[in-house]
């Protein structure tokens, strides 16, 4: 029985296994480590009937053995007398010892706390919901996971109580209920969860469909949009264009960068020999507090920027006079304002300022897209019409590195 991957002692990445030896021979039951990460369990069984195996107990022989899933299961019949033998397995039943939602939620919290103590990595438990609403189903976006059919939720409470009211709700209904509980919601992989195919011919039509759909739905009023996602049915630049089109349509979503990892090593796709990680993006967040409430608040206020941490190691922020900062929507009476950049760690990288108009329509009218030489520059921007302004950091060849959130300038 193959379980999850672990990284014991920091240098041994391996998949845990339990080897069960079920025998009709008269042998004592035993449990031992067969190898690092492998438990061998010998059980004497009858020649027929039901065999109950306690996976949790057996996995507890391994470090963090409780932090596992069953990944794969195979079984074999072994003959010791040179004769063919046969075993008939009628069925396998996998049954949880902790079936309740509460128990599993709290267990995840415990694991997160354990790894905070061990690694110093903050852990927050959210969830991904993918119940489509009728609009998503009608659009055919449910199966490929497009247009908001998969949403991530982070709620301020650390207890699982609010989950019960959010079960199997999607689209606008989910967003509304989460907002009622002061949580935040993201639209995940808007163009779909599929990896970027070699043949990208059909992606343009899909992306146009998704753009129209999200404009019509006003992005369900979700808080966040996965933009920093280099290899999920679109490039980063294609995700940026979707994001700008929403901003131009007056729909304010906070851009984030994600991995959507299901278990791969964090490595730099540009240099690593093992490179399953095609979305090595993170989101940097200016927090007031590292509590769940603090994280939800910072995301709601959009005090965030995102990028590839293997390329960009600095910080991004900017402000407009004393009236606004990155991530905010502000009203401006004057015909122009000055934006003051506060960007660090951009040596060797190019800084770009992008300003787009907020106007109806699918296309974006860019007022400005220009290089900025000074990472602490102060620029004047035209505010006679509603617009949004954001910052891009790229390698000299244009490769994406990091992206600010906009400031949305209303009249």
């Amino acid at each position: 029985m193959r379980l999850s991957w672990h990284a014991d002692a920091g240098d041994l990445e391996q998949q845990y296994q339990i080897h069960y030896v079920l025998t009709t021979n008269a042998v004592p039951d035993s449990r031992s480590l067969e190898a690092a990460g492998v438990v061998r369990v010998v059980r004497r069984v009858a020649s027929s009937g039901t065999v109950i195996l306690d996976l949790l107990s057996d996995a507890s022989f391994l470090p963090d053995g409780d932090d596992n899933t069953v990944v794969d299961l195979s079984w074999y019949v072994e003959s010791h007398d040179s004769m063919p033998h046969c075993a008939v397995v009628k069925r396998v039943v996998l049954k949880s010892a902790s079936p309740s939602i509460d128990a599993n939620w709290y267990e995840s919290q415990r694991f997160a706390e354990r790894y905070w103590e061990r690694f110093g990595v903050f852990g927050y438990i959210g969830f991904e919901e993918w119940t489509p609403d009728s609009a998503l189903a009608t659009a055919g976006f449910a199966q490929p996971g497009r247009g908001g059919s998969h949403m991530n939720v982070l709620l301020p409470p650390s207890d699982p109580g609010p989950l019960f009211g959010l079960w199997e709700i999607g689209g606008r209904g989910l967003v509304r209920k989460v907002h009622e509980q002061c949580g935040v919601v993201s639209i995940n992989h808007p163009f779909g969860y599929a990896l970027l195919p070699a043949d990208t011919a059909g992606l343009g039509a899909i992306q146009a469909d998704v753009t129209r759909f999200l404009l019509n739905q006003r992005a369900f009023e979700a808080d966040l949009l996965e933009v920093g996602l280099p290899a999920r049915s679109g490039t980063v630049d294609q995700h940026l264009l979707l994001w700008d089109r929403l901003s131009a349509g007056g729909i304010r979503t906070c851009g984030i960068g994600v991995t959507d990892t299901h278990g791969w090593r964090w490595d730099d796709p540009a240099t690593a020999t093992y490179t399953e990680n095609r979305n090595p993006y993170v989101t940097w967040i200016w927090l007031r507090s590292t509590t769940r409430v603090g994280l939800a608040s910072a995301l709601r206020r959009c005090r965030a920027y995102f990028g590839n941490p293997f390329v960009f190691h600095g910080t991004i922020d900017f402000s407009i006079d004393t009236i606004g900062a990155m991530g905010q929507a502000i009203s401006v009476r004057s015909d122009s304002v000055s934006i003051r950049f506060a960007i660090t760690g951009a040596t060797g990288l190019n800084l770009w300022m992008v300003q787009g108009l907020v106007t109806p329509g699918v296309d974006v009218q860019y007022l400005r897209r220009e290089r900025v030489a000074d990472t602490a520059a102060t620029l004047w921007v035209d505010t006679r019409r509603p617009s949004f302004v954001r910052v891009e950091v790229r390698l000299p060849d244009g490769t994406p590195a990091a992206f600010s959130n906009p400031i949305w300038l209303a009249k």
Binding site: S48, H85, Y115, E128, H150
Partner: protein, 168 residues
């Protein structure tokens, strides 16, 4: 006087004057939420966060389906400060047992391996009805005996094929 009382009574019963609460907009909700959120200055440095991370709902979408420990270790190794685990919601509901009935497998006559069994034990939501992740015990219902030679060869050995790789 009586007319005035009657008028008042009718007025009280006039349902058109009953005020129903106006639902607050999402923006109003956000404002109310922020009123209860932490105040004060931001921390001096931003936190780098992996916002969309799976461990127990890995459903074979990566070559190294992760434990939470694996994710946390990877984050630490690469200077990522925090993880938001976003497991598929059904992960937390383990009420239903997963039953695998090995009835529709395909026999490889050379290896005697049987693959392609019906019954996805990953419970990971690729198909909504096949919930699973943290499974703590299993039972094998075995009937039939060790057969003598000449018994049905399809029973030689059985292996469950891994779940197809999916992402979400």
């Amino acid at each position: 006087m009586l007319a005035a009382v009657a008028s008042l009574a009718v007025s009280c019963l006039d349902v058109t004057k009953v005020r129903t609460p106006v639902p607050r907009s999402d923006a109003q909700l956000a404002t109310a939420c922020e009123a209860a959120a932490p105040k004060g200055p931001e921390l001096p440095t931003p936190l780098s966060i992996s916002l969309h991370t799976h461990a127990h709902s890995n459903h074979g979408s990566a070559s190294r389906p992760a434990s939470m420990e694996f994710d946390a270790f990877q984050a630490k190794q690469n200077g990522v400060d925090a993880i938001v685990w976003s497991e598929h919601l059904p992960v937390f509901d383990q009420g239903d047992s997963v039953v695998i009935t090995p009835a529709q497998g395909r026999l490889d006559p050379d290896s005697l391996n049987v693959t392609g069994l019906q019954g996805d034990a990953t419970r990971l939501g690729a198909v909504r009805t096949t919930r699973s992740p943290r499974v703590y015990s299993t039972s094998l219902s075995i009937s039939g005996k060790m057969e003598r030679p000449g018994g049905p060869k399809r029973c030689g050995s059985i292996a469950r094929s891994p779940a197809a790789h999916r992402l979400d």
